[in-house]
Amino acid sequence: MIQDVVAWVLLAAVAAYACAGGTDYGAGFWDLVAGGSERGKRPRWLIDHAMEPVWETNNVWLIFVLVIMWTGFPVLFQTLFTAMWLPLALAAVGLVLRGAGFALRKPMTRLARRRIYGAVFAVSSLLTPFFLGAAVGGLASGKVAPGTKASADAWANGTSVIAGLLTIAATAFLGAVFLTADARRFDAADLVGYFRLRAWCSLGVVAVLAVVGLAVTHDDARYVYDGLTSGIGLALVLVAAVSALATAGLLYRAATGWARITAVGSVALVVVAWGLAQRPYLIPTSLTVDQAAGASTTLRWLVLVTVIAVVLVGPPLVLLYRLDTRGELQPLTEADLREK
């Protein structure tokens, strides 16, 4: 019973990371494809300003996912990190390169250096979500089971590759939607159209990959495929699709505030649908929630800690996002640091 609650908490944390971290990776993706330093100057300026106050917070969700996993379901954590060693190790390296590249690009004064750090940040924004997505794909297709040794089969297969690509496309979609809203917020009229177009394009790519994904998972990840194409899983996927389409429409109507909500909703719903499609398994079809659950005392405490934390963290998080979207948060400029 209590393990189901913790499983829901884990799924919620994954969904939160997919949305918050995803938006952040997406901004990095658009930084990557923004073109040369002259052509990409404006979009990169926006990406820098939009990401800066919130990127660290967005990425902390990943730490929860890991902590809840090893405290709540130690066997799942052990299995995943043993079998998926390479993609997860590369994702970890990617996280360092991404964070360091972004944080160190800004204080760089010379263009050549800014380019190098910017490139490191942007390329790892592409690779990190791919590897994380590939690991999830391998897990969903049941390529791993407790005791599986590390091997390329676990993550270099159809489902993993399509999951990795789908993750990139979804982050690009989220990133573009949020950047469209940010462009309006920063009064950059030219960039509203720029990112809106990219949001539509990435939504198209997501749709194509989703169709390909259906074909691939039909044989490769049968349990999850069945869960996603029937019952509650199907219902959620349909709502997610409608929500994604609504995002496209809202962007057209320039209702960027609402578009952000529907975009986040669509991604979160897909994650929840995947979680429900796996029921009662954490790894289909070898490890159930009950089998993987840690000691029930610990799980009860974990839920208690989570509840307290939500009460403590929730209000500041809302405050951060509110201050940020109202433009109250600005980095210190060189002039601020010089003046007395």
């Binding site: 405290t71 709540g72 060693w85 970890a92 390296v93 360092v96 964070g99 944080a103 500041p316």
Partner: protein, 475 residues
């Protein structure tokens, strides 16, 4: 643990991937730990300066606080990513530990994760709030930061102290932990000593490092109010904590003596159990139990451990060779311990020097030697942080969970070659990231110094305006 069990464990003691896994963990943790003092204590020191600036309407204090914020912004980012790597490494390197013990000791990390989340949110608001938020609102939104940092440290130290003195569970017939008692697993015997030693250590380290920057400026003749304030506030915090830390360090050593006698034996290179045990300053433990080099002080180890030369000190040979650190590991732990104690003692003298001048004259010491020592104190403190960590981790070998799981049982199955490759990549990436971080901070310092020396409106070759300085800013 039964005899056959340890014999099997001994045979499998060194799988080839064990060494690269340990080196990778050691390298990433040794790098991350250098940022920890600033992550935990720099917000507190900055807030102190911020408060001074707001309350007294002091623009110099506010300027210092703003500049420290700008440094914090970069440092916090590097700290976040290097910290995330450590979470990954629990799975990538030690899946055996997390698989078996995750639900016993993981809750500390659960607390840490949420505390850290809160810290990330508040620090984002604080760092970006200087321009648009109301001054006092901005300050008060930053005030919870030190508390979240202390809460985060609570979680991490709870996990580490559990690895040193594990409890809060019983083992079933298969050796798996059951009947988990969370309170016992969080508040283990080593928790209290480790936590307070850590907290005092990181605050004083951050204090000495920040003060050291201004000590260098002072030595170069920049004796204005800006440098005076930038030196005095962090140095005072660190100087007050230095004697406290001395007591806490003494107390944790005695806790180790009681709770982890074999680790104590390693840190003090005690080979045979006995009374009237001498203290060795440095020196090397050989595999036959003899000690080469070092300064031998008769009786002192027994006296330090139990206040009497008759105190019985457990030796390394009290347990089988497979259950204790090797002579090399013991020597490493011993040197780390002795370096830490030596530096700690020297810092105590420095703090007393400062206190003496302050009590007598209400002024900073005049001797340039004081400022030379103060300039080095920060680097020395960072060295003690590394040493403290090496003492506790190397001294615990060969156990990852003291007396319950060996490091070799926890290690991943990944091939040694993959791990060595990963270590190579990580070393290059970290060297680039830390190198650039340092370059960025030094660049900031140069830029600000140039700005301070050329006040606005100052024309080249015109008469120099010397703002707010007592002696003028000599160049």
């Amino acid at each position: 643990m039964s005899g056959t069990h340890s014999a099997i464990a001994l045979l499998a003691d060194t799988p080839p991937q064990l060494l690269p896994a340990r080196e990778l963990m050691a390298f990433t943790l040794a790098s991350h730990i250098l940022l920890v003092p600033f992550g935990v204590a720099l917000p507190a020191i900055t807030l102190l300066m911020h408060y001074r600036g707001l309350r007294g309407g002091d623009p110099v204090a506010l300027q210092l606080a703003r500049r420290w914020s700008a440094v914090m912004a970069v440092q916090f980012a590097i700290g976040i990513v290097t910290g995330t790597v450590l979470s990954f490494e629990f799975g990538l390197l030690w899946p055996g530990m997390m698989g078996r013990w995750g639900d016993v000791f993981g809750l500390g990390f659960g607390i840490e994760a949420w505390a850290f989340f809160l810290e990330a949110i508040l620090i984002a608001i604080y760092l970006h709030g200087w321009r648009r938020l109301k001054p006092w609102t901005h300050f008060w939104l930053g005030v919870p930061l030190p508390l979240t940092a202390l809460m985060g440290a609570f979680g991490i130290i709870a996990a580490n102290s559990w690895m040193n003195t594990p409890r809060g569970f019983t083992l079933d017939a298969d050796g798996n932990p059951v009947h988990v008692n969370v309170q016992q697993a969080v508040f283990t015997p080593m928790f209290g000593p480790e936590y307070w030693h850590f907290v005092a250590g990181v605050i004083l380290t951050a204090g000495y490092v920040v003060a050291g920057v201004y000590a260098v400026g002072w030595l170069r003749g920049r004796r204005d109010r800006y440098h005076r304030l930038g030196f005095t506030v962090p140095f005072t915090v660190a100087a007050i904590l230095t004697p406290v830390q001395f007591m806490l360090g003494d107390s944790i050593a005695r806790s180790i003596f009681h709770k982890q006698p074999v680790k104590f034996a390693a840190a003090e290179i005690v080979w045979k159990t006995g009374t009237h045990v001498p203290e060795y300053m440095f020196g090397r433990l050989n595999s036959d139990g003899t000690i080469s080099g070092g300064l031998k002080i008769p009786q002192l180890d027994s006296i330090l451990a139990g206040f009497s030369p008759d105190t019985k000190v457990t030796g390394l040979t009290s347990v089988p060779a497979s259950d204790r650190p090797t002579p090399t590991q013991a020597t490493i732990a011993h040197w780390a311990f002795d370096i830490m104690v030596t530096i700690g003692s020297l810092l105590l003298l420095l703090a007393l020097w400062y206190a003496w001048c302050w009590l007598r004259r209400r002024d900073l010491p005049r001797s340039p030697w004081f400022f030379r020592c103060a300039a080095l104190a920060g680097a020395a403190c960072l060295l003690t942080v590394e040493c403290g960590w090496i003492t506790t981790e190397v001294g615990r070998q060969p156990w990852i969970v003291y007396q319950n799981m060996r490091v070799s049982e926890a290690v991943t199955d990944t091939r040694a070659s993959s791990l060595w490759t990963m270590l190579g990549i990580v070393v290059v990436v970290y060297a680039a990231a830390f190198g650039t971080f340092l370059a960025v901070v030094l660049k900031m310092r140069t830029r600000w110094r140039t700005a301070d020396e050329l006040p606005e409106g100052d024309t080249p070759y015109g008469p120099r305006v010397v703002a707010g300085s007592t002696k003028g800013s000599a160049r």
